[in-house]
Symmetry: C2
Subunit: 465 residues, 2 copies
């Protein structure tokens, strides 16, 4: 199915992302408590915090970093308005001096991040924040949530897109997404990961990504006959996709054939949608009925409980399906609904920091990731100190500096999508496959970083008796 | 741990929920396409849509209905502003007459819903919308998303709360939730399900639910020694909970003991938090060190990858833990991250409607659910026609009528929480257990509804050749 075959695919001019009301309060209480402590104790030195995923979910060979542009928009506009200050005052534990500091707060930190759409691996920083420690601490929950959900959903969608093997995938998941934000930001992440369009109008308006849609069973039900419903919808939307499984799928397809005979040259229906039953059998029967009627150009669009495994199964079995609508499983990343994402202090006042808690490694200091390629294929990464210059492409780039000013223009979702596609295509084929890569992608720690880690851990351990 | 033991537990005056910008565009394109078709075809008759869950996830004995109050707030304020109309115009498929209708749109429908915090079962309507078909259709995605995520998360939290067996549970999940909306609305749902407090300040401000928090590893790391970090934090927050596992848990606890000796009567630390390692072993060691030092009143707070199964395991093994911080698994409903939620046309123009798609039953018409109790214990539900009067308590109540006016005052989360607790306590014990209830809760279909279903299905089938 060519892209034009999905109605509404025309790219829209990018809208202006609208952060939620009061994102400054999207913080955990303990972050403000610690910020107040730093403020009052005069601890104003610079801290480095690294955002990374400790371990990939078992069913992911890589993650697709996503969400940093939305985070930068929110941070650049972060203010504590009177309503937020009043709320914090009402908690009865923050002194007026700290509240006054909050009222004048502007995020002044620097941020380095990998470009959206970059494949990343366990322990690699997606982003590093360098800021006075109170500021860097205060944005912990915000940064983790915004980047976490988009990275989670983009990573899942990349698998669905890979399974569809070039056929368009449309995001139908807004109704089942975990909240409106997940649906809208998720639609953006899906698009960057290669999904062709979303059903969600707010995502279309906010991010300028293509929207698409067909019709619901309720429309067919509301008419006295399916034929009448098809005729009415086709009159208003001549190039639509008709949903044919409300009562009996084969009968529904035959009604589309009848409509084609009735309309003659005016028949421009682009496809039929199948949303239930055994999609392999039903798509074959549908294709056969359409072909027998000379309607080879009417495409078959499948939806209903799909994920990458089901799509692979259908296509491997030769199901004549031209495009997929995917909802629930993609919209909640059903097989891996959370990432083991961490935002950790790695340096304060110029001194590398770590912790020694069991199973929770923190690579100290400010870092860089170098990706090496051979003949255009990524062959391995090295996590290094940020002051090292190693072979390969450095992935983390400065994106924000003091005062919250962006250093690079915001890429459109379409641009991030192109970058993501190129970066995914540069991964070894075994990484893009849906089963666990064997061997996994090699990620090394540079000698200098390893030495720093030993030194910082030894210092931490020396505090023990 | 008594509730006062969690700092910031004091209830806040309820804030005013702030719906996201442009919720009117939180719709799937096909809904607006169908609405335009209904508008243009003159189909203005009343439709009934039922919102229900087709099947419970295998690991749920019941769901806790949640989210309707937020939905009512959004629907009451739903308007298509110029920006939204302009976006829809830019899609190039909506005539000006329809756009003008949208510009004047006010939701005029009636809604019946079960009170928030009500346990519900498969196929039982959580909510029914009665409105001109275009209006009822347009709010499909909005209604499903808002009620879906809160019902999903409340249902998960009810299990975590049950596992904690009276010990407070604090929501630490905002960083890992699927988006900001899921975190904030989720905190509300958790509270209704019995969670004591949330770490999320925006949820506290927006919904007036209690907030709580301790300290992070980063705070300890930022100091040259753990003892110094504890001393500084305790000076600012004398009744705080100290995080003791940054370097070595037993050593961390001994530093709390040392601080108690140092401060004497001024020592008012309420607890220590354990966030890593084998929580059973570590909590026992911690309790023993504290008790040996005469610090019986210092409580043990556990967090780190917890869910209802791990909490049950810990408590069954006698872990001396007084309260739990629960994040990821609760915040994404990890074992069941989506509900099989449906919003289906069941009546149009006074005629019951259904579809015949495989495995997707729709009970026709406007319905009511009657819950029968014996000695205060729920013994079975009957899904009936809404015009029936059967034994038991009818669960669906009118909550909104023409013009979007609320019929009942908005209950505070605290009120919904009380109702939810009473309703959960009225469930048979086997339903409240974490393993699958055997037998499951009985839900019957009334004779009249069954007869209507047969009649409507026969009519639908008669459309087939």
């Amino acid at each position: 199915m060519e892209q034009r075959a999905i109605r509404g695919m025309e790219a829209m001019p990018p809208g202006q992302p609208a952060p939620p009301a009061q994102p400054e309060l999207f913080a955990d209480l303990y972050e403000l408590r610690m910020a107040r402590a730093y403020h009052e104790l005069g601890m104003r030195d610079e801290a480095v915090f690294s955002l990374f995923v400790r371990r990939l979910p078992p069913a992911r060979n890589y993650l697709l970093a996503c969400g940093v542009e939305d985070l930068l928009d929110i941070l650049g506009a972060l203010r504590f308005g009177p309503e937020s200050v009043d709320y914090l005052r009402s908690l009865g534990e923050f002194p007026e001096a700290f509240l006054a500091w909050l009222a004048g707060f502007r995020f002044s930190g620097a941020i380095r991040a990998v470009p959206e759409g970059t494949p990343v691996f366990a322990e690699e920083p997606l982003l590093e924040v360098v800021a006075p420690i109170a500021e860097a601490q205060m944005i912990e929950t915000l940064a983790m949530n915004v980047i976490g959900v988009q990275t989670l959903l983009a990573s899942k969608a990349a698998r669905v897109v890979a399974a569809a093997a070039g056929r368009p995938v449309v995001d139908f998941g807004s109704r089942r997404a975990q909240g409106m934000d997940a649906a809208v930001a998720g639609a953006r992440a899906f698009h960057i990961a290669g999904v062709a369009a979303t059903s969600n109008l707010l995502a279309g308006a906010r991010y300028g990504i293509p929207v698409a849609g067909t019709m619901a069973h309720s429309f067919v039900q509301a008419f006295d006959s399916e034929a009448e419903a098809f005729r009415a919808f086709a009159r208003l939307y001549p190039e639509t996709i008709l949903l044919v499984d409300t009562y009996d799928t084969a009968e529904g397809v035959r009604r589309v054939v009848a409509l084609a005979r009735e309309l003659g040259d005016a028949f421009r229906i682009r496809g039929v949608r199948l949303d239930s039953g055994d999609l392999l059998a039903v798509s074959r029967e549908t294709r056969a009925i359409l072909d027998a009627a000379g309607l080879q150009r009417v495409q078959v669009f499948a939806s209903g409980g799909l994920d990458e495994a089901k799509i692979t199964g259908l296509l491997d079995a030769g199901a004549p399906i031209d495009a997929f609508g995917v909802g629930t499983e993609m919209s909640v990343s059903g097989d891996a609904p959370a990432l083991d994402l961490a935002y950790k202090l790695t340096c304060y006042a110029g001194v590398g920091r770590t912790k020694l808690s069991a199973g929770k490694r923190i690579l100290p200091g400010s870092k860089q990731v170098f990706r090496c390629t051979e003949n255009g294929v990524a062959v391995g990464d090295t996590i290094a100190r940020s002051d090292e210059r190693l072979p390969g492409t450095p992935l983390l780039r400065p994106v924000m500096q003091a005062g919250g000013r962006r250093l690079l223009p915001r890429p459109s979702p379409a641009e991030a999508r192109r970058l993501a596609e190129a970066a995914r295509m540069a991964l070894p084929a075994r990484l893009r496959a849906l089963h666990p890569a064997d061997p996994p992608y090699p990620v090394a720690i540079s000698d200098a970083l390893a030495a720093e880690e030993r030194e910082v851990r030894a210092r931490a351990a020396s505090m023990l008796p």
